[in-house]
């Protein structure tokens, strides 16, 4: 297909090494010794293109090799950490795990106690309201049963009773709403105090907190008990509690 026996062969596509070795150009006319200029020029151009492509490819490959070598070197150069270092990080991790689990326990206790209280009070309020309504109804029935003139005198009383019943129903509803909002408040307290736990959440304390903490002089104070207030949170502590500052 190519110029294996003539420089005039297929004049597209890269010449192969064999092409170069076997290239043969047609002698020019009697008047012009040497090869046909056009054929030689075209062939040289094709060879130049291919050489340029190969050079570029070569450069790219060299770069890739360099990157890979660097990666290999980096991987090899990452020294295996000492047992001591691994031990220290392991202890730190266990401490963090413990704080998280304490926070979860705390939240669990608070929430379940709050709910128990809510349900208890709600049940009590319901029972009370039910008893009052029932007593009122019994009273109404006995008034009617005693033959008290219902049409004239009973009307206002029954209205009064109905008002009472309505009031009690409203009272029961209000109890319920209040208890619920009380519980909501408790739960939201637990949530906020517990806060957001993210490994990268706390590496940089907000500006101005560090000096304060240095002044206080106890930056390493254990905070399991006082994590609730933002300003006592130690700078280097496990980020269990989000500072709102």
């Amino acid at each position: 297909m190519t110029t294996s026996d003539s420089g005039r062969g297929a004049e597209i596509g890269p010449p192969t090494a064999d092409d170069l070795r076997a290239v043969h150009f047609t002698p020019a006319s009697m008047l012009h010794p040497g090869y046909t200029d056009r054929e030689v020029d075209a062939f040289v151009a094709r060879a130049a293109d291919e050489l340029a492509r190969l050079t570029e490819e070569n450069t790219q490959l060299r770069q890739e090799v360099a990157i890979l070598e660097q990666q290999v070197a980096e991987a090899a150069a990452r020294p295996s950490p000492s047992d001591q270092a691994v031990g220290i990080l392991a202890t730190a991790q266990l401490t963090a795990d413990q704080y998280v689990s304490e926070a979860e326990d705390f939240s669990r206790q608070m929430t379940s106690e709050a709910r128990a209280q809510y349900e208890e009070q709600l049940a009590a309020a319901r029972e009370k309201a039910g008893a009052i309504i029932q007593a009122a109804q019994e009273a109404a029935a006995s008034i009617r049963g005693n033959g008290v003139p219902v049409v004239s005198g009973g009307q206002p009383e029954s209205e009064e009773l109905q008002e009472q019943v309505a009031y009690l129903k409203a009272f029961s509803q209000a109890c319920r709403v209040q208890l619920r909002s009380y519980l909501e408040a408790l739960l939201s307290d637990v949530e906020t105090e517990w806060g957001r736990a993210h490994p990268g959440a706390l590496p940089t304390p907000p500006r101005g907190t560090r000096p304060q903490q240095l002044e206080r002089g106890r930056p390493d104070v254990a905070f399991a008990g006082n994590a609730t207030t933002d300003d006592t949170e130690p700078a280097g502590a496990v980020p269990l509690s989000r500072s709102s500052s």
């Binding site: 963090a96 689990s101 957001r196």
Partner: protein
């Protein structure tokens, strides 16, 4: 690969319990600090899981027919954590270092065996992850509605940007920025929609970090991440039997999705849905269930309470109530709820003559970390 020797060395390490994964992760984070960000603050559960997974692999290493699908599932599932092919050698190096640390008789031959085995494992996992590369590693979903239904339950309406293909009844893992790196499983309560809308039912568990955040802190406009679907509660497409659906608590979600599927895709059949709760306040989705029962003549919804005598609803444990309405022997049964409810209901249905093969269950327990190797979304 000298499998008996590898098992022996793993047994030596396993004798040290939690120390081993603790050492492994500490080693990994020291050599490749960039991997630390892929994990939650507390690593306690993570360590259990790694150990369980490694034990699984070592136990089945000579049974490739079962091992390979497990590894493939692991590889696909790890995409959502941001695991890349480049992380696998790092993990392998730390694994070998860990095994070496806990083995007095560690030698080059053992190291070569483990390296070879790990190479195969990584190759299978990476290949599976690559095959799944057409689908996104996770789907971002916006909270378009957050509806607190009771003190503990919220219904979240989500919308994904990209379509998320799943079968009604399957579960998705959910991660929120409120509790980074903690993934929990929830079942959408609807069949996939053209507008990519999803409905999740979330119960706040006492002390549960993700569920409480989703119920009490998440709000409209938040973005959550969803992992690929898993689970086996999907409707048996080869059957056109009528359905019996039994839900306790938020176990209602996957069953509501099945109702949605019957409504949208058929085949037409009778569906009886029983929903149990302790008290009337527990029926967080009553209005919508009522609407569904009104719209679909083939659907009946029965609510029953177990702990509220003054209620006008049916009274009793849900399994009991279901049997009172039987017989159900011609049905396909789907049961979802807390472990006690599911077990009780299944036992009763089976005792009443329904074959086990026609009862499908999903257990909803606090903190469902991930599906088991069988694909069950349980603890």
């Amino acid at each position: 690969m000298d499998i008996p020797a590898m098992r022996a060395s793993f047994a030596k390490a396993a004798a040290h319990g939690d120390q081993v994964p603790l050492w492994f992760y500490s080693h990994l984070f020291l050599t490749h600090p960039e991997t630390r960000d892929m994990f939650p603050v507390s690593m306690a559960h993570q360590r259990d899981r790694l150990f369980a997974a490694l034990g699984e692999v070592v136990a089945r290493v000579d049974d490739l027919d079962t091992l390979v699908p497990i590894l493939q599932q692991l590889g696909r599932d790890h995409r959502k954590f941001g695991a890349l092919a480049a992380h696998y050698p790092a993990v392998g190096a730390s694994l070998l270092a860990t095994l070496e640390h806990f083995d007095d008789e560690w030698d080059d031959a053992l190291a070569a065996s483990w390296a070879e085995a790990y190479g195969v494992i990584a190759e299978v996992m990476i290949a599976a992850a690559d095959e799944a590369a057409d689908a996104p590693p996770w789907w971002e979903a916006e909270v378009v509605g957050h509806d607190r239904r009771t003190i503990d339950v919220a219904v979240l309406h989500l919308r994904t940007e990209q379509p998320l293909p799943y079968l009604p009844g399957q579960a998705l893992s959910v991660e929120t920025d409120l509790r980074p790196r903690l993934w929990r499983w929830y079942s959408p309560a609807n069949a996939p929609r053209p507008d990519n809308a999803l409905e999740l039912h979330v119960r706040a568990r006492d002390g549960g970090p993700v569920s409480t955040a989703l119920v009490r802190q998440a709000q409209q406009g938040d973005v959550v991440r969803l992992g690929p679907p898993v689970g086996h509660l999907a409707l048996d497409v080869d059957s056109d039997r009528d359905l019996l659906l039994v839900a306790g608590g938020t176990g209602l979600a996957p069953l509501k999705a099945l109702v949605d599927q019957v409504a949208r895709q058929g085949p037409a059949r009778r569906v009886d849905l029983f929903v149990g709760a302790r008290t009337e306040d527990g029926f967080y989705d009553r209005a919508d269930l009522h609407r569904l029962a009104q719209e679909h003549p083939w659907l009946t919804v029965t609510c029953a309470v177990s702990h509220e005598k003054s209620s006008a609803l049916e009274h009793g444990d849900i399994g009991d109530v279901v049997l009172r309405h039987g017989p159900w022997n011609g049905r396909d049964a789907y049961v979802a709820g807390n472990p006690a409810t599911v077990e009780d209901t299944v036992t009763r249905l089976h005792a009443a003559g329904l074959p086990m093969g026609r009862i499908r269950t999903e257990v909803f327990a606090p903190s469902r970390p991930s599906p088991t190797v069988d694909g069950k979304v349980t603890e």
